[in-house]
């Protein structure tokens, strides 16, 4: 065993790649249904939307793109399905040029199942270039920034936009983004208006977002694929998040074992070299 551990130091990287690949692939093909226990952050996010009365309006701003879609798209789908099943109306906006195809995809894919109507229950606002300055405008001059939807149709005639001239006219704000979007939202929408805000973020960003949840500025966080799985579990609608969690768990388990073995190997080799030195 000791000899084996010593040899691990020279193991070919490609063997590790194959082990990691298989540990992720096998549970995807044959799910083992590991138990899920949703985090408090996810439960709070779910509860914030679940407690909204039918007909209330949610403003969801996103920057989901191909690079972040593996984590953010399942979140977007889970929130969309939950809102539509509850009769909550959603106004979608985006700060990234790659997002509109994802938004139209979500809205079109679930229209038949939940029987919602574009313009009445859901609307997609067009992409606006400018990053943070767009979010500043949303916070200060919502009506001036958007007068048409992404297809160029006037918002004035749409039922979902009736009575909305300001961001404060919506009931909840959701931000689903991979980088700085949550900061822009807390700076220019949540802080000035005090609107209840949920953030969906990539797992990498979670440690940066949590302080805003602890301080009460965000009412909930959906973190990475795990957060999406939590949300799907709570909403009772299994999807891409849930199906990926077995692979996440098993992959992490294998990674932890490899890290432990690597450290033991390094420790043994260091001890050997010290003994030789003496």
């Amino acid at each position: 065993m000791t000899q084996f551990l010593r040899k691990l130091d020279d193991i070919d990287d490609r063997i590790i790649h194959v082990i990691i690949g298989l540990s992720v692939l096998l549970p995807l093909i044959r799910p083992i249904q590991l138990p899920l226990s949703p985090s408090d952050m996810s439960m709070d996010a779910f509860e914030a939307i679940n407690s909204m009365p039918p007909g209330s309006r949610m403003f969801l701003i996103t920057e989901v793109e191909p690079t972040t879609a593996a984590e953010l798209f399942p979140q977007l789908v889970a929130v969309h399905r939950h809102a539509m099943s509850k009769g909550v109306r959603v106004i979608y906006a985006c700060t990234s040029p790659g997002s509109p195809p994802f938004l139209t995809g979500v809205v079109n894919d679930w229209q038949e199942k939940y029987s919602y109507e574009y313009g009445k229950d859901v609307v997609i606002l067009p992409f606006r270039a400018g990053g943070e300055s767009v979010v500043v405008q949303i916070g200060q001059n919502f009506g001036g920034l958007y007068d048409q939807d992404y297809r160029g149709d006037s918002l004035a005639g749409m039922e979902i936009m009736q009575g909305i001239s300001d961001i404060e006219d919506v009931d909840l704000v959701v931000s689903i983004g991979g980088a700085e979007l949550y900061r822009w939202v807390v700076r220019h929408i949540q802080a000035p208006t005090g609107l209840p805000t949920i953030v969906g973020c990539t797992a990498v960003m979670t440690t940066f977002v949590v302080p805003f949840y602890s301080s009460g500025q965000f009412v909930g966080i959906i973190s990475g694929l795990g957060g999406a799985a939590d949300y799907e579990y709570l909403a009772g609608v299994p999807g891409a998040g849930t199906s990926g969690m077995d692979a996440q768990s098993l992959g992490h388990m294998v990674l932890l074992i490899l890290v432990a073995l690597g450290n033991i190997s390094a420790f043994l080799l260091k001890r050997d070299s010290n003994n030789k030195g003496n």
Binding site: R187, A191, A240
Partner: protein, 202 residues
Amino acid sequence: MISSDFGVWVGAFFTLAIFSYLFKGNIVFEFAEHTFIGFSAAHFFVEGYHNIINMAVRPMQEGQVSWIIPIILGVFLFARYVPSISWLSRFPVAIMVAIVSAAQIRGTLHAEFVSQIAATTELNILELSDLIFLIGVVTVATYFLYLKRLRESRVLSATSRIGRYFLMVAFGASLGTTVMGRYSLLIGRLQFLFGDWIKLIK
């Protein structure tokens, strides 16, 4: 059992081409890499072109002449390629920096500074998690005191060391979530390869 969609096949080819780098660098990987860079550059060029047309040129044609200002400022950015008038490019850069700074400072002060401090003052130190949080905030703050005389005092050197441990825990948590994010990307690709392309995942 296997997709008949041409787009899915193209996606699968490029995914496998990128993954092939895990075994060793090869010409298929390089082809995929250069194709990706080329497509990205083309995508952003077209996106930028449409933004200028839709958001500035078209409104200007409809009578909103003020849009000429951002167009001129945009053109000024290219002045740096002509040495005799390169100073013109400083104007748009200065305006962009000023606007971003103003937007950030205004929002940051309240949202990320005052609110965070206010929330910290509301901690209940009788609760263990809040107490640890408070110790973390104070000790990490002392870690960033750069006055030599202060740092050399026994109390502050001890607290800054504790603060360093808190920072290491935070960085560890950040790295952990980074690994989780990378796994999500791998899962996404495998779901595509074995779900959309070879239909092994139900």
